[in-house]
């Protein structure tokens, strides 16, 4: 069962802050602990920054997953930017095209519980990632 989505459009650097604040708020509402809240906020910050840096324009959406077995927050980041040629490369630690640390996407994967990335060159990138609420 899915509830309604809430989205943040990423165009300016400060939109990243808006996105992670919304993410943290939703996480708090469904009962995520403070450490995991920080993990979620950091993960949102990373993927939103990727949109801002590389695609210039995109969206980060949040959804609450609530089934009988488990509860969690689903984050979908979507952009129509240049796309990623070699996904296995960007998932490697230390790979960066912008002179950064290159820990962004592999870091997000470690911060979250489930992680899925799809990208097509010149079409855009979609990242779906879930953090489950620990019982």
């Amino acid at each position: 069962m899915m509830s309604s989505q809430s989205c943040v459009t990423i165009q300016k650097e400060w939109d990243i802050v808006a996105a992670r604040q919304l993410g943290r708020e939703i996480a708090k509402k469904i009962g995520v602990g403070t450490v995991d809240q920080a993990r979620i906020a950091t993960a949102v910050s990373e993927i939103a920054r990727n949109i801002y840096l590389y695609a210039k324009n995109g969206q980060v959406c949040f959804d609450v997953i609530d089934t009988i077995d488990q509860k969690g927050i689903l984050i979908i980041a979507e952009d129509s930017g240049p796309g990623i040629e070699d996904i296995s490369q960007v998932m490697e630690d230390g790979y960066s095209t912008s002179g950064g640390l290159g820990a962004g996407l592999p870091g997000v994967k470690r911060l979250m519980d489930e992680f899925d990335i799809k990208s097509e060159v010149d079409k855009g990138t979609v990242i779906k990632t879930i953090k489950w609420v620990r019982k």
Partner: protein, 289 residues
Amino acid sequence: MDRNLKRIALENSDTIVKMWMNEINTIKDGNYTATISDDLFESTNREFVNVIFASIKDQGSSKVVEDFSEKIIQLGWPLSYITDGLQIFRRVTIEYILNNSEKVNSDYFSKVLESVDLWVEPIIRRLVNEYSGSWEHTVSLQRVALQELSAPLIPVLEGITVMPLIGTIDTDRAKLIMENLLEGVMQHNSEVVLIDITGVPVVDTMVAHHIIQAAEAVRLIGATCILVGIRPEIAQTIVNLGIDLGKFPTKSSLKKGFMTALELMNRKIVDLDSKEESIEKMIESIKGE
């Protein structure tokens, strides 16, 4: 033609004002201006409609419009009050002119529309510009204010300086932090700089990257950087992200960082009481002799 229409509108301004007042009162309820007292609403409406007529009379005189917009902005009334008011004005004026014309064909109709639009448009443009100008001004003031409390550097002891960081670090701020840090280290002749991130809500790779760069730059000019105020949840996210902060010392609190700084400089905090006590003992022992 236009002059003729203008004459009709100005000569019958009383009727048009009455129609306009009726209309604008209907949108007051349940809308943005609902909390405003009736007296103020009434008097402002009157002023507004007078401004409109004054502007029409003088072919878009800017002075009255400017004064009025300043007043409305100061009162904090929403922009939609102005756009709605002018929209209503356009509607009732067109309605009035058409109702009081003898022959109405499509040509005449479009002429009336065009003329009234030409009267109202400069006022809308002017007021909207004034409004957005005041917003931009506010935003730029806030940006300056934010920058002022962005990255202060506080010398606490000879050779030890603290930079407390509070709030989100974006690219602009990161640059400012770096500049202030290096400048301050030179100016205060610091040997140890403590960067306190207790107030930074999220440390992602970009923030970490900027801190690492700042620490490295501080190292290059011969000082040591200690990162303090790392909360447990931040420590965990840093580890998850796989960020290596091993190149400089880190501490959980400013207090611990300060002790480390003292150690680095071969200094110690000594309790004054014990000193006094020992002096007293010395005096005692002298007395005893």
